[in-house]
């Protein structure tokens, strides 16, 4: 009797868990393409060349509208740059540095401890320049767009796949044949399919420093990798430490299993009672 109820419960949980996440993907009826990410999985590591290319795409394309508030130049060492390259990179930006004797604003060159400057001074300015829409900050975007499912991991949507999806699933006009609002574009991935961002990528839009062919797909992949790094820069540390902790605790658990068994040896069988 108990077994039956338990089994029913288990079955119920599996059914509940496997209900598809049509909701999570924003109600669009389009299939979400999943990509292979070298940084995924328990041993995943960042693909540094891809990160560098992603940074280039961000800098040359996205940063015209999207800020990256939480990331400092100094953190770019994680992408494989050395300190001199970093300083040179930071020096390409300018930061306000008080005023001179006549009250005019003066600027200084960026330093490694500076954070990526925002393209717009205020939200109002950002909206004004973007048809009323606010380009979201990129620092945590990859994490804020993921939908993870514990019981049905195959239904999870990763932020990187979402970003690639946004960048590569534009349609000319509306495939449903409906009228398009001015300044809006049809996108399979975006919630409600109507996005204010014009297709940002086109083949060969940037010229990669490492000579990789800059297809739209390639650039989307690279910038998504970069954005995932920006959102979770400590991922490699985390997984590396996790492996050590889990191996260590497994060994300790096995040892404690034998300690416990040895302590309980007599009592378990009731030898102390006879």
């Amino acid at each position: 009797m108990l077994k039956i109820v338990k089994n029913i419960g288990l079955a119920a949980m599996i059914i509940l868990g496997s209900v598809s996440f049509a909701n999570a993907s924003g109600g669009s009826s389009f299939e979400i393409k999943k990509n292979d990410w070298p940084h995924a999985g328990p041993f995943g590591k960042f693909d540094k060349p891809a990160l560098q290319r992603g940074l280039q795409v961000y800098k040359e394309v996205c940063s015209a509208c999207h800020s990256l508030n939480m990331v400092a130049f100094r953190e770019l060492t994680a992408l494989g740059y050395n300190m001199d390259e970093l300083k040179a990179f930071a020096a390409e930006y300018e930061f306000p540095n008080g005023t001179d004797d006549e009250g005019e604003e003066v600027f200084r060159k960026g330093k490694p401890h500076d954070y990526f400057p925002a393209p717009f001074a205020s939200e109002a300015e950002a909206r004004d320049s973007n048809n009323g829409a606010l380009p979201p900050d990129f620092s945590l975007l990859a994490k804020s767009r993921e939908h993870l499912s514990m019981f049905t991991p195959w239904n999870s949507l990763y932020g990187e796949d979402y970003i690639v999806g946004i960048l590569t699933t534009y349609h000319e006009g509306n495939p449903n044949g409906d009228e398009m609002t001015d300044g809006m574009y049809f996108n399979e991935m975006f919630l409600g399919n109507m996005i204010a961002m014009a297709p940002p990528l086109s083949d060969d839009l940037v010229e990669y420093a490492d000579g990789t062919k800059a297809t739209t797909q390639q650039m989307a992949h690279d910038v998504a990798t970069f954005m995932y790094w920006a959102a979770e820069p400590k991922m490699e540390d985390r997984k590396r430490m996790g492996l050590k902790v889990i191996i260590f605790m497994t060994i300790l658990t096995i040892m404690l299993y034998f300690v416990n068994k040895s302590v309980w040896r007599k009592v378990k069988k009731g030898d102390d009672l006879v």
Binding site: A72, P112, H113, F248, M249, I251, L252, M255, F258
Partner: protein, 180 residues
Amino acid sequence: MTTNDQIEHEEEVTRRNFLYVATGVVGAVGVASVAWPLVDQMNPSADVLAMASVEVDISPIPVGQTISILWRGKPVFIRHRTEKEIARGVSENNDPMIDPADDQDRAQKPEWLIMIGICTHLGCVPLDNTEFQSGDYGGWYCPCHGSEYDIAGRIRKGPAPRNLDLPKYKYLSDTTVKIG
């Protein structure tokens, strides 16, 4: 109990004790490794460390002027000394001093005096007397308890026990100095 049984029993006890001790040691290692992150989080964080050294462009500082910059939360005085000041500093090398030091040892390049602008007495920021070479020593004067420093930042009068401290610094080029 036969002797054989006894030996077997003792062997078992040894084995068991070894297991207990080994497990205890592994457990202790585990606890110790957890303790480190709990302590290390109090050390300066990455953003603080990034500010641990500053690079200063000294080319715009005219001769006879001092700028102060903030370094690790403290003011650092950078003075472009005049020939006269350097000469005065050297000439006073043998005067009686609380904390004797040669002018030559106070600056890597005599024309650039770089010091932490905090009175070694109780931590006030000394006032600048250099411009008009006022006061007895023509250097800095601490308003809190009247310590007087000369043009090389040496303590000459008052309760301060030490000369103004010198930060660690390095010339990256003729015009750039890295402090820290």
